[in-house]
Structures are given as C-alpha cells and as structure tokens.
Amino acid sequence: MRSIQVLRYLPEESPQPFLQSFQVPVTDSTSVLDALNYIKESLDPTLSFRWSCRMAICGSCGVMVNGIPKLGCKDFLRNYPNDLIIEPLAHLPVERDLVVNMDSFLRHLEAVKPYLIEGKNAADSSQPNRQTPAQMARYQQFANCINCGLCYAACPQFGLNPEFTGPAAIALAHRYNLDSRDSGKAQRMAPLNSKNGVWSCTFVGFCSEVCPKGVDPAAAVNQGKVESAKSMLIQLFSGRAIGGAGQ
C-alpha cells in the first residue's frame, strides 16, 4: 500500500478544490488509472474521472501527475517513489474532480476543417487514390493524435489565451494540408493565419514532450508558420502578426 493525493472538486458541496489522500495497493504494473479505479470501487464512490480503453488509444484519461500532463493508463506508480499528486488537466475548466470541460478543445479541432477536401479534378470516386509510402510518410505522424488534450494542458499560450487554436488542432490541420489527396489547404489557412492561429505559439515545445503518441505538434506549428508566411507574405509584416508571434 502507498499514499497518493487527488485534487477533488465537488461543485455541489463547495466552490473550493481540496487535496485528499488515499491508500492504494501497488505492484510493479499499477497504473495511475488502476489506482483511481481502486479508489472509486473500494474507498470513495464520489471520485469522478474519465477512462475507457486503458491502453493509451482512446484518449479519455488525461490528468496532471505531479504537475505534468499524462495519460493515467500509461503512467505507472512505480515512476513516483515519493509524492504523487493527481490533478485535472491544466488550462481547461474543471467540471468536477478530474473531469475537465473539453468543449473548447473540440471546437478548435473542428474549426480547422479536419477532413479530406478533394479538388475538382479528383479521380473517379469508386476507386481508391494512389498514395506512395513516401507521400504517406509526410503526414503520417500527425495522423496519430488521439485527441487526449495533454498538449493543451502543456501549452502556456493556451493557458493565457483559450482562443488559441492550439497544438492538436494545428497538427490535425497540418496532417490534411500535407496529404497528397487533399486540396483544402487554402480553406484551412484562414484560422491558422489569424491572431489565434500558428503565430500565437511561442515555440516552447512542451506540447511535443508530453504527447503520449510521439506526435510532434510543435513541428506542425512551426511548419505551419512557414506555410502561413507563404500564404500571407504581406500581412506577415504587419504589426498585428508580429505581435501575435511574440518572439
């Protein structure tokens, strides 16, 4: 058994969050999620959190573990021999306990038109497009985002400005912009060029560090800046865009 602490927030009882300690059984393979499930089933039925696949692919169980965004199912108690504090993801409004409101995250994702936009000359739709492995490799890593939101909890700019499109959505836009089958880049660049688009990023790079799937949203943002610069050569030199870049 060992002690872990969880930041509780029960809005129907008190407006104040509080830390609560629990004793949980631990083996070499106990994940943070396992510990939360143990608490829920055996110690305190009121603890609320999201989870499902417990294999790091559904993206439900993001939490802060000792201040770092992690997937609860892919982080293990063995990594924390001393103190262990679990809190809700940073920068998103907390609904209750470890459940955050994902509305703004989804709104950003959905705003970048994250779907294939075929050109007028698209081939006969009863046949698959051809795409070589080299063409796939250009976008493939950006297609691996599981929408867990850890990068938003890591992004200081999103923390300051919730209207910032943010790492995952920019990576997703970039994924489609780089796809040889897509002709929608011009439509996608408008939100990326705006003051809340790529130029809001100050290239801290923490988003890529915390990504549990090895996606590199910081690279997408940076490449997005090159694209954005190309698509708005003149605006680039206006005070507004430079100010937004904040570099």
Binding site: I57, R130, L172
Partner: protein, 605 residues
C-alpha cells in the same frame, strides 16, 4: 425534461454509429441526432488493431470470402447477409480511402493487404496496427462536414420511447448535469457496441457494457446467438490488452513454455517454417481454435507464468526491429509499456481474453429489428454475419457495410412513415418512471442495500467460472442461477454518490444493470445449446460435437422483466452453402465442395 426532435437518432458514436449518421445525412432529411455516452473518438472502435476485410486481389473472389466467413462461423451465419456483406465490403473501404483514411500502401501507391486468421487469401486492409483508430478518427472528422448531424456527447441513453410497436425516440441522461432529455425521432439506430466487460479478462474498454443490447432487449427485441463469445487468443496477461492477430499475419508464432509450436497438435499443422506463414495453417487458424488450444496446453501443464497468469508466448523476434516498427509499432509500444517486453528481443507473454460478442440485437437483413423503425448495426447487433465465430477483420468492415445500410434504411423509413403520435402522455410517463428509478437509486443511507462494485465483482467471477472457453451443464446452471440472484439484488441497488454533476457512480451502476440483463441472456443460451459449435464449446459427454439435427438454429432470448428470460430457436438461412465440416491446416487442403474450408489453403501465401 427538454425535448428535441429529429428524423433519425443514432445511439452510439463509434464506427457503426458514425457511419450510420453520415449515411442517414446523405440519404435526406435535415436532422440526425447522434447520442453517445463518450466523445465519439473514445468509442471502442478506436482499439481495433488488425484491419478490415474485402476482396481486393485478382486471385481472390467474393465466393471465397463468403465461404471463409460461413465456414468460420460454423454454418450459423445468415447466408444472404454474408452474401450482401462480401459484395459491399470493397466499396466501403474505398469510401473510407476517399475520406482520407491512411491505409497502408504498397510501393506503387496501391492499398496493401495482409493475411488474417481463417481467411484463405490476403484481403485485409490495414492502417499499420491502428486500423480501428484511423477508421474512427476518419469517420468522426468526416462527420463534421454534415451540419445536419447534431451530437449529444456524454449523454447516456436510458430507454426507448416505443408506441404501438414503433420506435419514437430515446430518453437520455445528460451526464454533465444529471438532467433528462427526450430525443424524438421516427427511426432510432442502436450502434452501442458489444458486452465484453461481462468478463474479467477482456480486451475491451471499460465502456463496453452491453447497454444498447439491454435497452432493446427490455423493450421486447430478441437477443440472438448470445452464447457465442469470442476469445482472442493473444491478450496481455493481467490487463487483457489486445495484441493484434496481424502479429501472426505478419509471421509471429505461438509457443508453449518449452518453446514448442503447440498448434500443430490441434489440427492446425503441419508446422509452417519460421517467416513463411501460410493462410489457414498454424497461427493463421481461426480464433476459436487457437483459444481452445491454449486451454488444452494449460490443462496439460505446458503453459508458462507471467505474474499469476498462465501464459503462452508470441514470438516476433525473427521479424526484426525495422519491420516491427513499420508494421506493428503499436504492439511494440504496448508490450513495452504493459509487460516490459521488447518484441524485437523477447517473446511476448499472452493468454486468451474475451474480445467480441458475436450475438446481439436481432435484426433482419435491412438492419431493422422487430420494433418498426428501430435499427441496429455493428457489434451490438446480430444481423447474422458472424454465426458461431467471427473471423478477424470482418467486424471493422461490418461497421461500414451495415452502419451505412442502417443509416440509409432508417432515414428512408423516417421520411416515408407518418409521424409518431403526439406522444405527450407517453413521454411524460417515461420521464417520470425514470426520474423515480434514478431517485430510488440515489436515496442513500438505507442498510443492507448493495452497491454496484460488489455486484460487478460477482458478475465477472460468475461469468469467468461458468461461461468461459469451455462450458458444461452444471457450471452453466450455476452461473444462470447466480446471475438471476444478482439481478434480484440489483433491484435494490443504491449509489454512494448523490450528486447531479458527472455522477459516474450512477453511470457505472446503470451500465451494470445492462450487463446483468445481457449476462442472463448469454448464460441461458449457452445452457440450452447442448452442442459444441464455433466459440461455444461444451465439455459434457453428449455435447462435444456439433449437432446440426437439433441445433442448426439461432438462439433467441426474450426478456421477461423480473421473471426468468425465455428462449426460442430460429431457423438459419443456409440456402447458398450446405453445412460442412470445418478443417484447417493440412486437413483443409484437397477437400472440395461447399463443405470444404481452405481447400487450397496456403497456395497464395
């Protein structure tokens, strides 16, 4: 109670639900409601790894995909449905390609296909080893193009509104607020996934609790073929996390604790050389046979140990690090994270784990149930595709083929039918009935009332002991009795959390109620089917063989409220292929005729 009105309401935001919503939107009308207890991209389709089957190569044929599916299902599939499926499979995978799904490619840029268990020819499309993930995200993202699809994320559907045997909508709990909503519609599509969480060792996400099955069942629709529960032969010990069959399609081999490739002792040999997998031989036999072989090795004491689990080993070392990273990167990540094994250097310990529910909500070939306007598609449904055992890579394609069909048919029904009655009185009744039910669960502080975690723990234990890979009369009788006892106790269940906002104690309690009803249907059908067929294997003396005389039938279980459920038998459509014997390995070669499975197994390898 807020009331919303749609043409079609889809329950479930996984692969089948999203495909159905898109198809409904493309068919016409202007309002499709998509309700899901989780955000769509959290749905369990996300965890499917291996791929999606469709006849693709010049040396393959629709007949061959049909034969593999029907024989793989031990002749319990609806053959007209299988025929429709194999004919529409390829077009659906192409549609996914046109929507951007990143299918793995050959050097030429054409789509690549891989081997899969029980399939005679390579016909499985894949996106590395995250096929379900890529399909689900492609469908979710594509669904954003349709403004007529209105999502209700994190709403838990409690019940159907049915009037005069016509579906008229659903009542749902908004999880973030605890408020009830009524979504009216002239058609409702259930696309809520399977029920793998009835069992302790399973590859399924925590959300896979059989909700949609229970909801339709409680309203009088039969649950069909529920005794057929697929064990995937390769789950990680402890967690049950899925290690894809594609690992074996790519050449992985299974060994016991002595390093011996034991499958050759179970009618799947002769042993194929390392690095030369052959379709339908050895590791590429069907899932039921492989899981059963594990059980025999375990009984004979030839399994190894990982923690307190008995295991065999999946050896991928000969494939080399680079190839593993290209074809099976997720498997490498999972093995490292959850059992601390690098597959390029050591074999992965594995054991069978419950994976898939072959049975489900009975529908006709148009995906419509016995309630007019109520449709079902995907794992929650029994359209009749899988029979007694599903072949790997048929279910991802099923989501698309039958999700599409259900969406189209549901919208046509909605546009063609006269609207439901005003319904104000039945809506009020349904609302107050559920309000009372929820309040009674909430009322705390009464001694002796059970909570859900203890009932769930018992359910898992009962199903594991009485309804596992091998079953018998005594074990099933006991299991059925125990489940009925648990259902009675559940009537008095009480929550430990009385709040309204994100009350996940309530959510899990509601899920358990669904699981218990589905478990009774599963145990009853398993008890009454006194034969061995596909994934349903009995150890009793007179039940060890397939018995077509008595049991070439679908089981149908009907809900009877608090009374014991009732079972009936239904004829199977076998008009295209007369029942024959299932053979794999060398026994499958050289046999001809409709009964021969794998008649030229291996020649295309």
């Amino acid at each position: 109670m807020q009331v919303h009105t749609f043409d079609v309401v889809v329950v479930g935001g996984g692969g089948a639900g999203l495909r159905a919503a898109i198809a409904a939107a493309e068919t016409g009308g202007n309002a499709v409601g998509l309700v899901s207890k989780v955000y769509p991209m959290r749905s369990h389709t996300v965890a499917a790894e291996g791929g999606a089957a469709a006849v693709t190569r010049g040396d393959d044929s629709l007949q061959s995909h049909f034969d593999d599916t029907v024989a793989g299902g031990d002749w319990l599939a609806e053959q007209g449905v299988v025929d429709y499926f194999v004919r529409h499979a390829h077009a659906e995978l192409v549609q996914m390609e046109r929507w951007g799904c990143p299918w793995s490619r050959q050097a030429s840029g054409d789509v690549q296909v891989r081997r899969f268990g029980g399939m005679k020819t390579e016909r499985t499309w894949f996106a590395a080893d995250k096929t379900g993930f890529h399909m689900l995200h492609t469908l979710y993202q594509t669904s954003l193009k349709y403004p007529q699809i209105q999502r209700f994320d994190e709403y838990f559907v409690l019940d159907l509104l049915v009037e005069d045997n016509q579906a008229c909508g659903v009542i749902a709990l908004e999880i973030s607020s605890g408020e009830l909503h009524l979504l009216r519609a002239k058609s409702v599509i259930m696309a809520t996934g399977g029920a793998g969480r009835l069992f302790r060792f399973n590859t399924n996400g925590g959300i896979v609790t059989g909700d949609g099955m229970a909801i339709a069942y409680r309203r009088g629709v039969a649950l069909r073929d529920m005794e057929f529960v697929q064990y995937h032969p390769t789950g990680l010990p402890g967690s049950g996390i899925l290690i894809t069959e594609a690992s074996r399609g790519e050449g992985g081999v299974l060994t016991n604790k002595d390093g011996y490739r034991y499958l050759q002792d179970y009618g799947l040999g002769p042993e194929t050389p390392l690095g030369e997998p052959q379709n339908k031989y050895m590791e590429l036999g069907p899932r039921d046979k492989l899981s059963q072989a594990f059980w025999h090795e375990q009984q004979a004491g030839r399994t190894g140990k990982h923690g307190d689990s008995d295991v065999v080993y999946l050896d991928l070392r000969h494939l080399g690090e680079a190839y593993l990273q290209e074809r099976l990167p997720f498997i490498c990540e999972l093995a490292k994270a959850y059992v601390n094994v690098d597959p390029a250097k050591s074999p992965i310990p594995i054991r069978p784990a419950v994976h898939y529910t072959m049975g489900g909500i009975e529908t006709n070939a148009d995906c419509e149930t016995s309630i007019r306007g109520l449709f079902a598609a995907g794992e929650c449904a029994s359209v009749g595709l899988h029979g007694a055992n599903r072949l790997g890579s048929n279910s991802l394609t099923e989501l698309l083929v039958f999700g599409h069909l259900a969406g189209k048919k549901a919208m046509q029904r909605a546009l063609g039918d006269s609207p439901c009655k005003d319904g104000a009185e039945s809506i009020r009744q349904l609302g107050s009935q559920w309000q009372e039910r929820l309040e009674s669960m909430m009322r705390g502080g009464e001694p002796g009332r059970p909570r859900w975690p203890e009932l769930k723990a018992e359910l898992l234990k009962v199903m594991e002991e009485g309804c596992g890979i091998y079953r018998d009369e005594a074990g099933l009788t006991q299991a059925l009795q125990s489940i009925r006892g648990l259902r009675e106790r559940y009537e008095r269940v009480q929550l430990g959390d009385q709040s309204q906002i994100y009350n996940t104690d309530l959510l899990h309690c509601l899920e358990l109620g669904c699981s218990l009803d589905v478990a009774e249907a599963t145990c009853l059908a398993a008890l009454q089917r006194r034969e061995s067929r596909g994934a349903h294997q009995r150890l009793d003396d007179s039940c060890q063989q397939r018995n077509d005389q008595q049991y070439l039938k679908h089981s149908q279980v009907f809900y009877q409220g608090a009374a014991p459920a009732r079972l009936e038998w239904q004829d199977v459509d076998t008009h295209l292929s007369a029942p024959g014997e299932r053979h794999y390995g060398s026994k499958g070669s050289g046999l001809k005729g409709s009964g021969a499975e794998g008649s030229d197994g291996g020649q295309h390898a």
